[in-house]
Protein backbone atom coordinates (compact mmCIF):
# COMPACT_ATOMS: atom_id res chain seq x y z
CA UNK A 1 0.00 0.00 0.00
CA UNK A 2 1.69 3.16 -1.17
CA UNK A 3 -1.22 5.51 -0.77
CA UNK A 4 -2.78 7.80 -3.32
CA UNK A 5 0.53 9.36 -4.53
CA UNK A 6 2.75 6.28 -4.55
CA UNK A 7 0.49 3.76 -6.28
CA UNK A 8 0.65 3.28 -10.06
CA UNK A 9 -2.35 4.63 -11.97
CA UNK A 10 -4.29 1.83 -13.63
CA UNK A 11 -7.14 3.85 -15.06
CA UNK A 12 -10.35 1.90 -15.46
CA UNK A 13 -8.62 -1.49 -15.53
CA UNK A 14 -10.63 -3.01 -12.67
CA UNK A 15 -13.94 -1.58 -13.81
CA UNK A 16 -13.33 -2.86 -17.35
CA UNK A 17 -12.56 -6.30 -15.97
CA UNK A 18 -15.70 -6.25 -13.83
CA UNK A 19 -18.09 -5.14 -16.52
CA UNK A 20 -16.61 -7.00 -19.49
CA UNK A 21 -14.81 -10.12 -18.31
CA UNK A 22 -15.63 -11.00 -14.72
CA UNK A 23 -17.80 -14.09 -14.48
CA UNK A 24 -19.01 -13.11 -10.99
CA UNK A 25 -19.94 -9.48 -11.15
CA UNK A 26 -23.35 -9.57 -12.80
CA UNK A 27 -24.25 -12.66 -10.82
CA UNK A 28 -23.64 -10.98 -7.46
CA UNK A 29 -25.26 -7.77 -8.66
CA UNK A 30 -28.28 -9.86 -9.69
CA UNK A 31 -28.32 -11.68 -6.35
CA UNK A 32 -28.19 -8.37 -4.50
CA UNK A 33 -31.08 -6.84 -6.41
CA UNK A 34 -33.22 -9.99 -6.38
CA UNK A 35 -32.83 -10.60 -2.63
CA UNK A 36 -33.47 -6.94 -1.97
CA UNK A 37 -36.63 -6.96 -4.09
CA UNK A 38 -37.86 -10.05 -2.23
CA UNK A 39 -37.27 -8.18 1.02
CA UNK A 40 -39.30 -5.24 -0.28
CA UNK A 41 -42.15 -7.25 -1.82
CA UNK A 42 -42.70 -9.47 1.22
CA UNK A 43 -41.05 -7.55 4.03
CA UNK A 44 -42.38 -4.09 3.32
CA UNK A 45 -46.14 -4.78 3.56
CA UNK A 46 -45.75 -7.06 6.61
CA UNK A 47 -45.43 -4.34 9.29
CA UNK A 48 -48.26 -2.33 7.69
CA UNK A 49 -50.62 -5.31 7.92
CA UNK A 50 -49.46 -6.08 11.46
CA UNK A 51 -49.94 -2.44 12.49
CA UNK A 52 -53.49 -2.47 11.13
CA UNK A 53 -54.17 -5.66 13.08
CA UNK A 54 -52.67 -4.34 16.31
CA UNK A 55 -54.73 -1.21 15.85
CA UNK A 56 -57.91 -3.30 15.79
CA UNK A 57 -57.22 -5.06 19.10
CA UNK A 58 -59.70 -3.81 21.69
CA UNK A 59 -57.98 -4.87 24.89
CA UNK A 60 -55.29 -2.28 25.47
CA UNK A 61 -53.42 -4.58 27.83
CA UNK A 62 -53.14 -7.35 25.25
CA UNK A 63 -52.17 -4.75 22.67
CA UNK A 64 -49.20 -3.70 24.81
CA UNK A 65 -48.08 -7.29 25.42
CA UNK A 66 -48.37 -8.13 21.72
CA UNK A 67 -46.32 -5.08 20.79
CA UNK A 68 -43.58 -5.80 23.34
CA UNK A 69 -43.23 -9.41 22.24
CA UNK A 70 -43.15 -8.67 18.53
CA UNK A 71 -40.45 -6.03 19.04
CA UNK A 72 -38.19 -8.48 20.87
CA UNK A 73 -36.17 -10.10 18.04
CA UNK A 74 -35.20 -6.65 16.73
CA UNK A 75 -32.80 -6.21 19.64
CA UNK A 76 -30.52 -9.12 18.84
CA UNK A 77 -27.69 -9.26 16.35
CA UNK A 78 -27.66 -11.69 13.47
CA UNK A 79 -24.93 -13.63 15.26
CA UNK A 80 -27.39 -14.56 18.00
CA UNK A 81 -30.37 -14.98 15.67
CA UNK A 82 -28.20 -16.92 13.20
CA UNK A 83 -27.21 -19.34 15.97
CA UNK A 84 -30.86 -19.78 16.91
CA UNK A 85 -31.90 -20.35 13.29
CA UNK A 86 -29.18 -22.94 12.74
CA UNK A 87 -30.59 -24.91 15.69
CA UNK A 88 -34.28 -24.47 14.90
CA UNK A 89 -33.98 -25.10 11.16
CA UNK A 90 -31.70 -28.14 11.32
CA UNK A 91 -33.02 -30.79 8.92
CA UNK A 92 -32.48 -33.62 11.41
CA UNK A 93 -33.16 -32.20 14.88
CA UNK A 94 -34.73 -28.79 14.24
CA UNK A 95 -38.18 -28.08 15.59
CA UNK A 96 -39.37 -26.47 12.35
CA UNK A 97 -38.65 -29.60 10.37
CA UNK A 98 -40.23 -31.66 13.15
CA UNK A 99 -43.46 -29.71 12.58
CA UNK A 100 -43.11 -30.14 8.82
CA UNK A 101 -42.75 -33.92 9.13
CA UNK A 102 -45.75 -34.00 11.50
CA UNK A 103 -47.85 -32.70 8.60
CA UNK A 104 -46.38 -35.47 6.48
CA UNK A 105 -43.95 -33.49 4.33
CA UNK A 106 -40.28 -34.08 3.68
CA UNK A 107 -37.81 -32.17 5.88
CA UNK A 108 -36.34 -29.09 4.21
CA UNK A 109 -32.70 -28.03 4.50
CA UNK A 110 -33.57 -24.33 4.82
CA UNK A 111 -30.01 -23.06 5.24
CA UNK A 112 -28.23 -25.44 2.91
CA UNK A 113 -30.56 -25.85 -0.05
CA UNK A 114 -30.13 -23.06 -2.63
CA UNK A 115 -33.82 -23.38 -3.56
CA UNK A 116 -34.95 -22.44 -0.08
CA UNK A 117 -32.17 -20.15 1.06
CA UNK A 118 -33.64 -16.85 -0.15
CA UNK A 119 -37.00 -17.81 1.28
CA UNK A 120 -35.25 -18.42 4.61
CA UNK A 121 -33.50 -15.05 4.40
CA UNK A 122 -36.70 -13.12 3.74
CA UNK A 123 -38.80 -14.99 6.30
CA UNK A 124 -36.25 -14.67 9.08
CA UNK A 125 -35.78 -10.97 8.33
CA UNK A 126 -39.54 -10.49 8.61
CA UNK A 127 -39.51 -12.37 11.91
CA UNK A 128 -36.80 -10.03 13.22
CA UNK A 129 -38.12 -6.70 12.03
CA UNK A 130 -41.88 -6.92 11.50
CA UNK A 131 -42.83 -5.82 15.02
CA UNK A 132 -40.35 -2.98 15.17
CA UNK A 133 -41.49 -1.81 11.75
CA UNK A 134 -45.04 -1.26 13.03
CA UNK A 135 -44.01 1.58 15.33
CA UNK A 136 -44.08 4.31 12.72
CA UNK A 137 -47.40 3.12 11.26
CA UNK A 138 -49.00 2.81 14.69
CA UNK A 139 -47.92 6.38 15.41
CA UNK A 140 -49.51 7.49 12.15
CA UNK A 141 -52.68 5.59 13.07
CA UNK A 142 -53.09 7.45 16.35
CA UNK A 143 -53.33 10.62 14.27
CA UNK A 144 -56.48 9.48 12.45
CA UNK A 145 -59.47 11.47 13.65
CA UNK A 146 -62.12 9.39 15.49
CA UNK A 147 -64.80 11.62 13.90
CA UNK A 148 -64.20 9.91 10.58
CA UNK A 149 -65.02 6.50 12.06
CA UNK A 150 -68.11 7.82 13.84
CA UNK A 151 -69.41 9.28 10.61
CA UNK A 152 -68.69 5.99 8.82
CA UNK A 153 -70.54 3.99 11.48
CA UNK A 154 -73.54 6.33 11.10
CA UNK A 155 -73.51 5.58 7.39
CA UNK A 156 -73.43 1.86 8.16
CA UNK A 157 -69.91 1.08 6.98
CA UNK A 158 -68.53 -2.28 8.11
CA UNK A 159 -65.20 -2.58 9.91
CA UNK A 160 -63.53 -3.82 6.78
CA UNK A 161 -64.91 -0.87 4.78
CA UNK A 162 -63.70 1.51 7.47
CA UNK A 163 -60.19 0.08 7.27
CA UNK A 164 -60.18 0.28 3.51
CA UNK A 165 -61.71 3.73 3.12
CA UNK A 166 -60.49 5.58 6.20
CA UNK A 167 -57.52 3.93 7.90
CA UNK A 168 -55.45 3.04 4.85
CA UNK A 169 -55.83 6.37 3.04
CA UNK A 170 -54.94 8.20 6.26
CA UNK A 171 -51.59 6.49 6.60
CA UNK A 172 -50.87 6.34 2.88
CA UNK A 173 -48.44 9.30 2.92
CA UNK A 174 -46.31 7.54 5.56
CA UNK A 175 -46.40 4.31 3.56
CA UNK A 176 -45.29 6.09 0.40
CA UNK A 177 -42.46 7.87 2.18
CA UNK A 178 -41.23 4.64 3.80
CA UNK A 179 -41.36 2.83 0.46
CA UNK A 180 -39.39 5.55 -1.28
CA UNK A 181 -36.75 5.51 1.43
CA UNK A 182 -36.58 1.73 1.22
CA UNK A 183 -36.08 1.84 -2.55
CA UNK A 184 -33.04 4.04 -1.99
CA UNK A 185 -31.37 1.16 -0.16
CA UNK A 186 -32.02 -1.46 -2.82
CA UNK A 187 -28.35 -2.45 -3.01
CA UNK A 188 -28.35 -3.31 0.70
CA UNK A 189 -29.63 -6.86 0.81
CA UNK A 190 -28.70 -7.60 4.42
CA UNK A 191 -24.95 -8.09 4.84
CA UNK A 192 -25.01 -9.05 8.55
CA UNK A 193 -27.73 -11.60 8.03
CA UNK A 194 -26.23 -13.25 4.96
CA UNK A 195 -22.69 -13.36 6.35
CA UNK A 196 -23.95 -15.27 9.38
CA UNK A 197 -26.25 -17.64 7.50
CA UNK A 198 -24.72 -18.51 4.15
CA UNK A 199 -22.26 -21.27 3.35
CA UNK A 200 -20.36 -22.43 0.23
CA UNK A 201 -23.45 -24.46 -0.73
CA UNK A 202 -25.53 -21.29 -1.00
CA UNK A 203 -22.96 -18.79 -2.29
CA UNK A 204 -24.53 -19.12 -5.74
CA UNK A 205 -27.86 -17.62 -4.68
CA UNK A 206 -26.79 -15.55 -1.68
CA UNK A 207 -23.52 -13.87 -2.53
CA UNK A 208 -24.25 -10.13 -2.62
CA UNK A 209 -21.98 -7.17 -3.36
CA UNK A 210 -21.07 -6.67 0.31
CA UNK A 211 -20.30 -10.30 1.08
CA UNK A 212 -18.28 -10.58 -2.13
CA UNK A 213 -16.17 -7.57 -1.16
CA UNK A 214 -15.57 -9.05 2.28
CA UNK A 215 -14.81 -12.60 1.21
CA UNK A 216 -12.91 -12.08 -2.01
CA UNK A 217 -11.38 -8.76 -1.03
CA UNK A 218 -10.29 -9.13 2.55
CA UNK A 219 -10.04 -12.89 2.88
CA UNK A 220 -8.49 -13.57 -0.54
CA UNK A 221 -6.56 -10.26 -0.70
CA UNK A 222 -8.01 -8.99 -3.99
CA UNK A 223 -8.01 -5.46 -2.66
CA UNK A 224 -8.13 -3.38 -5.85
CA UNK A 225 -10.80 -5.34 -7.64
CA UNK A 226 -13.18 -5.46 -4.70
CA UNK A 227 -12.59 -1.83 -3.85
CA UNK A 228 -13.89 -1.13 -7.36
CA UNK A 229 -16.96 -3.27 -6.56
CA UNK A 230 -17.49 -1.36 -3.31
CA UNK A 231 -17.10 1.99 -5.03
CA UNK A 232 -19.56 0.96 -7.74
CA UNK A 233 -22.08 0.02 -5.06
CA UNK A 234 -21.65 3.22 -3.08
CA UNK A 235 -21.90 5.49 -6.12
CA UNK A 236 -25.10 3.80 -7.29
CA UNK A 237 -26.52 3.84 -3.77
CA UNK A 238 -25.73 7.54 -3.40
CA UNK A 239 -27.44 8.35 -6.69
CA UNK A 240 -30.45 6.32 -5.60
CA UNK A 241 -30.69 8.29 -2.36
CA UNK A 242 -30.58 11.59 -4.25
CA UNK A 243 -33.15 10.30 -6.73
CA UNK A 244 -35.59 8.97 -4.12
CA UNK A 245 -35.23 12.13 -2.11
CA UNK A 246 -36.11 14.14 -5.22
CA UNK A 247 -39.17 11.94 -5.89
CA UNK A 248 -40.30 12.21 -2.29
CA UNK A 249 -40.15 16.01 -2.51
CA UNK A 250 -42.03 15.96 -5.83
CA UNK A 251 -44.81 14.04 -4.11
CA UNK A 252 -45.07 16.78 -1.50
CA UNK A 253 -43.28 14.85 1.24
CA UNK A 254 -40.51 16.14 3.45
CA UNK A 255 -37.66 14.12 2.00
CA UNK A 256 -34.43 13.59 3.88
CA UNK A 257 -32.75 16.91 3.20
Amino acid sequence: MDGIWGSPWVGLKHFKFLFLQSPDFFKILGNTVVISIYHIVFGFPAPIILALMINEIRSSKFKKVAQSLTYLPHFFSWVILGGILITLLSPSTGVVNYLITLVGLEPIYFLGDPHYFRFTLVTSAIWKEVGWGTIIYLAALTGVSPDLYEAAVMDGASRWKQTLKITLPSILPVIVLMLILRMGGILDAGFDQILNLYSPATYGVADILDTYVYRVGLQNFQFSLTTAVGLFKNVIAFMLVLFTNYISKKLGQDGLF
Partner: protein, 290 residues
Protein backbone atom coordinates in the same frame (compact mmCIF):
# COMPACT_ATOMS: atom_id res chain seq x y z
CA UNK B 1 -65.54 3.16 19.97
CA UNK B 2 -65.52 1.62 16.53
CA UNK B 3 -68.32 -0.73 15.74
CA UNK B 4 -69.28 -2.93 12.87
CA UNK B 5 -70.81 -6.23 11.93
CA UNK B 6 -69.23 -9.41 13.18
CA UNK B 7 -66.80 -7.57 15.40
CA UNK B 8 -66.77 -10.17 18.19
CA UNK B 9 -65.93 -12.96 15.80
CA UNK B 10 -63.27 -10.76 14.27
CA UNK B 11 -61.77 -10.02 17.69
CA UNK B 12 -61.52 -13.75 18.42
CA UNK B 13 -59.75 -14.35 15.11
CA UNK B 14 -57.48 -11.36 15.71
CA UNK B 15 -56.51 -12.39 19.23
CA UNK B 16 -55.78 -15.97 18.14
CA UNK B 17 -53.61 -14.74 15.31
CA UNK B 18 -51.70 -12.39 17.60
CA UNK B 19 -51.20 -15.11 20.19
CA UNK B 20 -49.68 -17.39 17.54
CA UNK B 21 -47.48 -14.54 16.33
CA UNK B 22 -46.28 -13.83 19.87
CA UNK B 23 -45.44 -17.52 20.33
CA UNK B 24 -43.41 -17.43 17.11
CA UNK B 25 -41.52 -14.39 18.42
CA UNK B 26 -40.83 -15.80 21.86
CA UNK B 27 -40.51 -19.54 21.34
CA UNK B 28 -37.01 -19.57 19.79
CA UNK B 29 -35.54 -17.98 22.92
CA UNK B 30 -37.40 -20.37 25.24
CA UNK B 31 -36.21 -23.27 23.12
CA UNK B 32 -32.57 -22.24 23.36
CA UNK B 33 -32.83 -21.70 27.10
CA UNK B 34 -34.37 -25.16 27.55
CA UNK B 35 -31.68 -26.78 25.39
CA UNK B 36 -28.92 -25.08 27.37
CA UNK B 37 -30.11 -26.89 30.53
CA UNK B 38 -30.65 -30.24 28.82
CA UNK B 39 -28.80 -33.52 28.97
CA UNK B 40 -27.28 -34.73 25.65
CA UNK B 41 -30.18 -37.08 24.92
CA UNK B 42 -32.76 -34.46 25.79
CA UNK B 43 -30.99 -31.84 23.65
CA UNK B 44 -31.26 -34.07 20.60
CA UNK B 45 -34.89 -35.09 21.21
CA UNK B 46 -37.12 -34.19 18.27
CA UNK B 47 -39.95 -31.87 19.16
CA UNK B 48 -40.94 -28.84 21.15
CA UNK B 49 -38.65 -27.82 24.02
CA UNK B 50 -40.32 -25.59 26.56
CA UNK B 51 -38.31 -26.83 29.55
CA UNK B 52 -35.67 -29.57 29.88
CA UNK B 53 -37.15 -32.95 30.79
CA UNK B 54 -33.74 -34.12 31.95
CA UNK B 55 -31.96 -31.23 33.58
CA UNK B 56 -28.22 -30.88 33.32
CA UNK B 57 -26.12 -27.96 34.43
CA UNK B 58 -23.03 -29.34 32.71
CA UNK B 59 -23.17 -27.02 29.68
CA UNK B 60 -23.52 -23.89 31.79
CA UNK B 61 -20.69 -25.05 34.07
CA UNK B 62 -18.44 -25.55 31.05
CA UNK B 63 -19.40 -22.24 29.47
CA UNK B 64 -19.14 -20.18 32.64
CA UNK B 65 -15.92 -21.95 33.56
CA UNK B 66 -14.34 -20.98 30.28
CA UNK B 67 -11.71 -18.29 30.53
CA UNK B 68 -12.35 -16.94 26.99
CA UNK B 69 -15.98 -16.12 27.61
CA UNK B 70 -15.08 -13.89 30.55
CA UNK B 71 -12.46 -12.12 28.45
CA UNK B 72 -15.15 -11.57 25.84
CA UNK B 73 -17.61 -10.46 28.49
CA UNK B 74 -15.12 -7.99 29.93
CA UNK B 75 -14.33 -6.48 26.54
CA UNK B 76 -18.00 -6.27 25.63
CA UNK B 77 -18.85 -4.53 28.90
CA UNK B 78 -15.88 -2.21 28.36
CA UNK B 79 -16.95 -1.19 24.87
CA UNK B 80 -20.59 -0.87 25.89
CA UNK B 81 -19.88 1.40 28.86
CA UNK B 82 -16.93 3.44 27.59
CA UNK B 83 -18.25 3.52 24.02
CA UNK B 84 -21.67 4.75 25.05
CA UNK B 85 -20.39 7.41 27.44
CA UNK B 86 -17.85 8.72 24.91
CA UNK B 87 -20.37 8.63 22.06
CA UNK B 88 -22.96 10.64 23.92
CA UNK B 89 -20.34 13.11 25.11
CA UNK B 90 -18.85 13.70 21.66
CA UNK B 91 -22.18 13.75 19.88
CA UNK B 92 -23.39 16.41 22.32
CA UNK B 93 -20.29 18.50 21.77
CA UNK B 94 -20.78 18.20 18.01
CA UNK B 95 -24.52 18.77 18.00
CA UNK B 96 -24.53 21.81 20.25
CA UNK B 97 -22.61 24.23 18.00
CA UNK B 98 -24.45 22.89 14.94
CA UNK B 99 -27.73 23.70 16.65
CA UNK B 100 -26.87 27.40 17.17
CA UNK B 101 -28.09 29.67 14.42
CA UNK B 102 -25.24 32.13 14.91
CA UNK B 103 -22.55 29.56 14.06
CA UNK B 104 -20.92 30.80 10.83
CA UNK B 105 -21.24 28.41 7.87
CA UNK B 106 -23.47 26.16 9.93
CA UNK B 107 -25.08 24.62 6.86
CA UNK B 108 -21.74 23.81 5.25
CA UNK B 109 -20.59 21.92 8.34
CA UNK B 110 -23.90 20.10 8.60
CA UNK B 111 -23.82 19.14 4.93
CA UNK B 112 -20.27 17.80 5.21
CA UNK B 113 -21.28 15.65 8.18
CA UNK B 114 -24.57 14.48 6.64
CA UNK B 115 -22.70 13.48 3.48
CA UNK B 116 -20.95 10.70 5.40
CA UNK B 117 -24.33 9.12 6.03
CA UNK B 118 -24.92 8.59 2.32
CA UNK B 119 -21.51 7.99 0.87
CA UNK B 120 -18.48 6.12 2.09
CA UNK B 121 -15.31 4.66 0.65
CA UNK B 122 -16.34 1.08 1.26
CA UNK B 123 -15.08 -1.78 3.34
CA UNK B 124 -11.55 -2.16 2.04
CA UNK B 125 -10.48 1.50 2.07
CA UNK B 126 -11.91 1.72 5.60
CA UNK B 127 -9.90 -1.31 6.62
CA UNK B 128 -6.68 0.25 5.35
CA UNK B 129 -7.49 3.54 7.00
CA UNK B 130 -7.90 1.78 10.33
CA UNK B 131 -4.73 -0.20 9.70
CA UNK B 132 -2.64 2.85 8.81
CA UNK B 133 -3.96 4.72 11.82
CA UNK B 134 -2.45 1.94 13.90
CA UNK B 135 -5.77 0.89 15.36
CA UNK B 136 -5.61 -2.79 14.39
CA UNK B 137 -5.64 -5.02 17.46
CA UNK B 138 -6.36 -2.21 19.89
CA UNK B 139 -9.48 -1.82 22.02
CA UNK B 140 -9.73 1.76 20.76
CA UNK B 141 -11.01 0.38 17.46
CA UNK B 142 -14.24 -0.56 19.24
CA UNK B 143 -14.82 3.03 20.26
CA UNK B 144 -13.20 5.51 17.87
CA UNK B 145 -14.50 4.70 14.35
CA UNK B 146 -18.15 4.75 15.44
CA UNK B 147 -17.76 7.45 18.07
CA UNK B 148 -20.17 9.82 16.37
CA UNK B 149 -23.25 8.34 14.77
CA UNK B 150 -24.29 10.95 12.23
CA UNK B 151 -27.95 10.04 12.47
CA UNK B 152 -28.03 10.23 16.27
CA UNK B 153 -26.12 13.49 16.23
CA UNK B 154 -28.68 15.04 13.88
CA UNK B 155 -31.49 13.98 16.20
CA UNK B 156 -29.61 15.60 19.05
CA UNK B 157 -29.02 18.75 17.01
CA UNK B 158 -32.73 19.01 16.24
CA UNK B 159 -33.52 18.60 19.92
CA UNK B 160 -31.02 21.29 20.92
CA UNK B 161 -32.45 23.63 18.30
CA UNK B 162 -35.72 23.69 20.19
CA UNK B 163 -33.97 25.15 23.23
CA UNK B 164 -34.44 28.92 22.98
CA UNK B 165 -31.45 31.22 22.49
CA UNK B 166 -32.73 33.41 25.33
CA UNK B 167 -31.76 30.79 27.92
CA UNK B 168 -28.25 30.85 26.59
CA UNK B 169 -28.16 34.66 26.46
CA UNK B 170 -29.18 35.02 30.07
CA UNK B 171 -26.59 32.44 31.12
CA UNK B 172 -23.95 34.37 29.22
CA UNK B 173 -24.93 37.58 31.01
CA UNK B 174 -24.43 35.72 34.27
CA UNK B 175 -20.91 34.88 33.10
CA UNK B 176 -21.23 31.27 31.99
CA UNK B 177 -18.95 30.13 29.16
CA UNK B 178 -20.02 27.85 26.32
CA UNK B 179 -18.94 24.61 27.97
CA UNK B 180 -20.80 25.50 31.12
CA UNK B 181 -23.92 26.32 29.14
CA UNK B 182 -23.70 22.96 27.37
CA UNK B 183 -23.21 20.90 30.53
CA UNK B 184 -25.37 22.84 32.96
CA UNK B 185 -28.23 24.08 30.80
CA UNK B 186 -28.51 22.28 27.47
CA UNK B 187 -27.74 18.70 28.51
CA UNK B 188 -29.95 18.65 31.63
CA UNK B 189 -32.84 19.87 29.46
CA UNK B 190 -32.19 17.07 26.98
CA UNK B 191 -32.13 14.07 29.34
CA UNK B 192 -34.92 12.10 27.62
CA UNK B 193 -33.27 12.20 24.22
CA UNK B 194 -29.84 11.53 25.76
CA UNK B 195 -31.26 8.46 27.51
CA UNK B 196 -32.65 7.13 24.25
CA UNK B 197 -29.46 7.72 22.29
CA UNK B 198 -27.44 6.05 25.06
CA UNK B 199 -29.70 3.00 24.86
CA UNK B 200 -29.29 2.77 21.11
CA UNK B 201 -25.57 3.10 21.42
CA UNK B 202 -25.38 0.54 24.24
CA UNK B 203 -27.42 -2.09 22.37
CA UNK B 204 -25.37 -1.43 19.26
CA UNK B 205 -22.13 -1.98 21.17
CA UNK B 206 -23.41 -5.10 22.90
CA UNK B 207 -24.44 -6.63 19.58
CA UNK B 208 -21.54 -5.42 17.44
CA UNK B 209 -19.40 -8.16 15.98
CA UNK B 210 -18.16 -7.20 12.55
CA UNK B 211 -15.55 -4.67 13.70
CA UNK B 212 -14.06 -7.29 16.01
CA UNK B 213 -13.95 -9.86 13.20
CA UNK B 214 -12.27 -7.34 10.90
CA UNK B 215 -9.80 -5.57 13.10
CA UNK B 216 -8.97 -7.81 16.06
CA UNK B 217 -6.71 -10.88 16.00
CA UNK B 218 -5.51 -10.84 19.61
CA UNK B 219 -7.55 -13.37 21.65
CA UNK B 220 -7.36 -11.14 24.74
CA UNK B 221 -9.25 -8.38 22.96
CA UNK B 222 -12.11 -10.38 21.50
CA UNK B 223 -15.70 -9.57 22.41
CA UNK B 224 -18.55 -11.87 23.37
CA UNK B 225 -20.13 -11.85 19.92
CA UNK B 226 -16.96 -13.01 18.13
CA UNK B 227 -16.56 -15.78 20.68
CA UNK B 228 -20.19 -16.76 20.17
CA UNK B 229 -19.71 -16.66 16.41
CA UNK B 230 -16.80 -19.06 16.62
CA UNK B 231 -18.90 -21.46 18.68
CA UNK B 232 -22.30 -21.38 16.97
CA UNK B 233 -21.79 -20.08 13.42
CA UNK B 234 -18.41 -21.30 12.25
CA UNK B 235 -18.04 -24.05 14.85
CA UNK B 236 -14.27 -23.44 15.24
CA UNK B 237 -14.24 -23.28 19.01
CA UNK B 238 -16.68 -26.03 19.82
CA UNK B 239 -14.01 -28.72 19.99
CA UNK B 240 -11.85 -26.83 22.45
CA UNK B 241 -14.42 -27.45 25.14
CA UNK B 242 -13.60 -31.12 24.85
CA UNK B 243 -9.88 -30.98 24.27
CA UNK B 244 -8.62 -30.25 27.77
CA UNK B 245 -10.30 -32.84 29.96
CA UNK B 246 -12.76 -35.46 28.86
CA UNK B 247 -14.82 -36.21 25.84
CA UNK B 248 -18.05 -35.70 27.77
CA UNK B 249 -18.24 -32.25 26.26
CA UNK B 250 -18.68 -33.70 22.79
CA UNK B 251 -22.11 -35.08 23.67
CA UNK B 252 -22.98 -31.67 25.02
CA UNK B 253 -22.44 -29.81 21.75
CA UNK B 254 -25.99 -28.52 21.48
CA UNK B 255 -26.38 -27.50 25.15
CA UNK B 256 -22.99 -25.78 25.06
CA UNK B 257 -23.91 -23.84 21.92
CA UNK B 258 -27.24 -22.86 23.47
CA UNK B 259 -25.67 -21.83 26.77
CA UNK B 260 -23.07 -19.66 25.03
CA UNK B 261 -25.83 -18.08 23.01
CA UNK B 262 -28.09 -17.41 25.98
CA UNK B 263 -25.16 -15.99 27.94
CA UNK B 264 -24.82 -13.32 25.24
CA UNK B 265 -28.55 -12.76 24.79
CA UNK B 266 -29.68 -12.78 28.44
CA UNK B 267 -28.49 -9.29 29.42
CA UNK B 268 -30.67 -7.82 26.67
CA UNK B 269 -33.63 -10.05 27.55
CA UNK B 270 -33.34 -9.02 31.20
CA UNK B 271 -33.18 -5.24 30.66
CA UNK B 272 -35.60 -5.24 27.74
CA UNK B 273 -38.92 -5.22 29.66
CA UNK B 274 -37.80 -2.24 31.76
CA UNK B 275 -36.37 -0.15 28.96
CA UNK B 276 -38.69 -1.07 26.12
CA UNK B 277 -40.76 2.11 26.24
CA UNK B 278 -37.66 4.31 25.94
CA UNK B 279 -36.58 2.48 22.82
CA UNK B 280 -39.96 3.06 21.25
CA UNK B 281 -39.98 6.73 22.24
CA UNK B 282 -36.57 7.12 20.66
CA UNK B 283 -37.72 5.72 17.36
CA UNK B 284 -40.50 8.25 17.32
CA UNK B 285 -38.00 11.06 17.94
CA UNK B 286 -35.94 9.68 15.08
CA UNK B 287 -38.71 9.20 12.58
CA UNK B 288 -40.52 12.46 13.22
CA UNK B 289 -37.26 14.39 12.76
CA UNK B 290 -37.28 18.14 12.08
Amino acid sequence: MRQGKGSTLFQIFLISFMVILCIIMLYPFVHMLAISFSSPAESLRLGIHLYPKQVSLYAWERVLGKHDIWIGFGNTVFRTVVGTVCSVLFMSMGAYPLSRRYLPHRNVFTLLIVFTMFFGGGLIPTYFLIKNLGLLDTRAVYILPGLVSTFSMLILRNFFQAIPDELEDSAKIDGANDLRILFQIVLPLSLPVLATLSLWSAVGHWNAWFDAVLYIQDPDKQVLTTFLRRVVITGEDLSMYASNTTNTALGYQEPIKAATLMFTALPIIIVYPFLQKYFVKGTMVGSLKG
